[in-house]
Amino acid sequence: MAADPNTIKEVKTLKLPGDVLSVTHVPGTNRIFVGGTDANVYAIDTSQENPEPTAWQGHKSYISSLAYVSGDSLVSCGWDKQLIWWDIASGKPVRTIQAHKKWVRKIAVTPDGRTIASVGDDMVCRIWNTQTGELLRELRGHEPLTPHHFLSKLYTCVISLDGQHLATADRVGHIVVWEIATGAKVAELDAPLFYHWDFDRNNHSAGGIRSLAFSADGKLLAAGGIENTDVAIIAGKALVQVFDWKSGERTHEFKQGSFVFENLAFHHQDDWLLGAAGGSGNDRKLLFYNLQSNSMFKELIAPTPIYGMALSETSETIYGGGREKVVQWDLKV
């Protein structure tokens, strides 16, 4: 069955107590896990007509990212600096690690479920054995300070579908691509348009690369965020840049609206690139880009800003987490 964005329809909305910052989907099922500002992980079976989320407690602050590992294992991370391994069957934490010295922003799991990467504001990417929780490697390739002497932030990471490469990106628009097996840096990219320093107006910075996505064939790397913003950090253009990361060439750039792309995902056969954004008013959107024609071909105003997103392995279902709700869209033809 094909996944056509032009057929997109909202099929389910589920209210939750807090804002949802992260969503992960269990492949081949209707199960998702979400987490956010109330520090609980929620297990949700979306096949039910009126799903009743089950809350799992363990974090002490916002949950920033979730990753389904394999079998009965789920990992979450948060602004409490922790990684927590969960037993899906019981909903109990099985391992808690003080993983970073500062906020943990994002985690990503290899397709075989054996390795997990975490990035945090201590500007280190750590590679963990998902089965044992053992720290396998620390990757350091991002400057701890911005050019203007403030603390930088390592916002996001993503792993290629072949499990070979990991990309990490920071506040100032620096991207590093690593070989997971060796920890070697294999590429570095700079996307300075994502970093904005306003000396005269507000004398602080804004921006940063907030989302990354590898294309299914692993050749392209998309980065999302915000181009520029006003003094109150509410009115900047959403920005996506796509790179042929091996050559370093920037192949595409899209700007529009007034929001931050916090989530990007490629169609499982690279038919399109999806961006999901949080913003005010009508600037809360799902946007679909055709890289062949270098254009945005479908735009949908979401019922909530989208802070976290998961795209199913067939690209037929989108789960978006936002303002006290999770929304499910179907793209099935």
Binding site: D200, N203, A206, T229, V231, A232, G279, S280
Partner: protein, 435 residues
């Protein structure tokens, strides 16, 4: 009020400093070498009370600083840390000040100023809550304190305001002006840099020529003013001109390259840190009032990212400034006040921002006249309202004046001759936080 005590030692010290500073303009830095000497600091300590206002333009969040509410729907992602005040916790972004609170600082957690707008908030917070708005030329806090704390023989500026960003100057559209007190107490505004423009005469005029012109202008001005003595504006202009050469001589006060590298490193590389070092130099030289205007905190979007950047800088600069003032013996005669034009909403909006909030927010006072470690007032569990010790602007101002030894019920005469009181009649300061 003239705080010149009249003692010979005072006179000698001030004159010695100023004479040397004037000389420094011509050919040396001898006057500046007096900065930091124990004798000079001791002299100031005995004689002069001073104030630094750290104005967090745009509205810093009380929840990400002095009144955190972790674990509540309004609390945000940050955790809290204990402070040197038993039982009092602050946001984890303030570890340096957390250590120092019991030594120097009182916290007010119960400001209720009702205003939720930058302009109106700044008008109220920088002028005090004027009960009689018909006095349109009421001076701002800095000008009032410059007037009250100045030393008449001083040739350093009375009132200096350093801004990190221009929105603090243009969005807070409140003329930071001396109004009916006269231009002598107007601020020297320094925007996005460390020193004012134009302290030196044009290169086409020699120092000798400048002196001659100044003397001629002074002679003519005295003849003109004679018979017009009741015109305060004329007198004020004349004062200002007479001070020009003294202020010109103070240009090196703004030059932090005169500081040892380790001191500059201590304050850090950011503009706010460097401006704070300029502020300390100005205080050390006897400037009565310095405003460090750190903006722009307005975080309607991404409040936590903004505060993650700005609060650690505030923590560092406040801590270093306190330490440096204390080590130089200046903190016991200097009040350091930190506040914004308002706080930020407990509710977190769709852009993970916090909006404007005046009903329950926080400020700090450190140093002179303050009971160290005092924590005054309380807000409810989610920080939406004050539940104990509500403080309005008049009460807050009365506390500032009292800490500086100024009668908060003192009356001035406005331009039209009407009496104007510093804080509304019957206002009481927060005595619980005063030493």
């Amino acid at each position: 009020m003239n705080r010149f005590c009249g003692s010979p030692s005072h006179h000698l010290t001030r004159r010695a400093f100023l004479g040397n500073a004037t000389g420094a303009m011509i050919g040396g830095t001898a006057g500046l070498k007096m900065l930091g000497t124990p004798l000079f600091a001791e002299q100031l300590k005995r004689e002069q009370k001073q104030c630094i206002l750290i104005f967090l333009a745009g509205g810093a969040s009380q929840l990400e600083t002095w009144d955190p509410k972790p674990g509540t729907s309004t609390g945000g992602p940050f955790q809290t840390i204990p402070t040197s005040i038993p039982g009092y916790h602050v946001c984890e972004l303030l570890p340096k000040m957390a250590e120092r609170l019991s030594q120097h600082t009182a916290v007010v957690r119960s400001l209720d100023t009702t205003n939720t707008d930058h302009d109106a908030g700044a008008r109220v917070l920088l002028r005090g809550n004027r009960p009689d708005d018909s006095v349109t030329d009421y001076p701002t806090l800095g000008s009032v304190l410059a007037h009250e704390l100045e030393q008449r023989d001083a040739r350093v500026p009375n009132h200096v305001a350093l801004y990190t960003a221009y929105v603090g100057l243009t969005l807070n559209r409140v003329p930071d002006a001396a109004g009916f007190l006269g231009s002598r107490y107007d601020p020297i505004n320094i925007l996005s840099r460390l020193s004012p423009d134009g302290l030196q005469p044009p290169k086409s005029i020699s120092d000798f020529e400048h002196r001659q012109r100044s003397e001629l202008r002074s002679l003519l001005a005295q003849q003109f003013v004679r018979g017009r003595q009741r015109d305060g504006t004329l007198a004020s202009y004349n004062d200002a001109y007479q001070r020009v050469r003294g202020i010109m001589a103070s240009d090196q006060l703004f030059d932090i390259s005169k500081e040892p590298q380790n001191v500059r490193d201590r304050y850090g590389p950011t503009l706010f840190g460097q401006q704070a070092l300029v502020g300390r130099r100005l205080i050390e030289a006897g400037v009565p009032f310095v405003r460090l205007n750190r903006g722009w905190w307005d975080s309607h979007g991404e409040n936590f990212e903004t505060h993650l950047e700005l609060v650690p800088e505030l923590d560092h600069v406040m801590a270093v400034l306190m330490d440096d003032l204390q080590e130089r013996g200046l903190l016991e005669n200097t009040l350091v006040v930190t506040f914004s034009e308002m706080g930020r909403t407990p509710a977190i909006n769709a852009m993970r921002g916090r909006d404007h909030w005046g009903a329950a927010w926080s400020a700090t006072l450190s140093g002179l006249g303050v009971k160290p470690g005092a924590v005054y007032g309380a807000t409810n569990d989610n920080g939406t309202e004050v539940i104990d010790g509500k403080v309005d602007v008049a009460k807050f101002y009365a506390t500032i004046f009292q800490a500086l030894g100024i009668d908060h019920q003192k009356e001035f005469k406005a331009s039209d001759g009407r009496p104007v009181v510093l804080t509304d009649y019957g206002t009481e300061p927060i005595r619980e936080i005063l030493a």
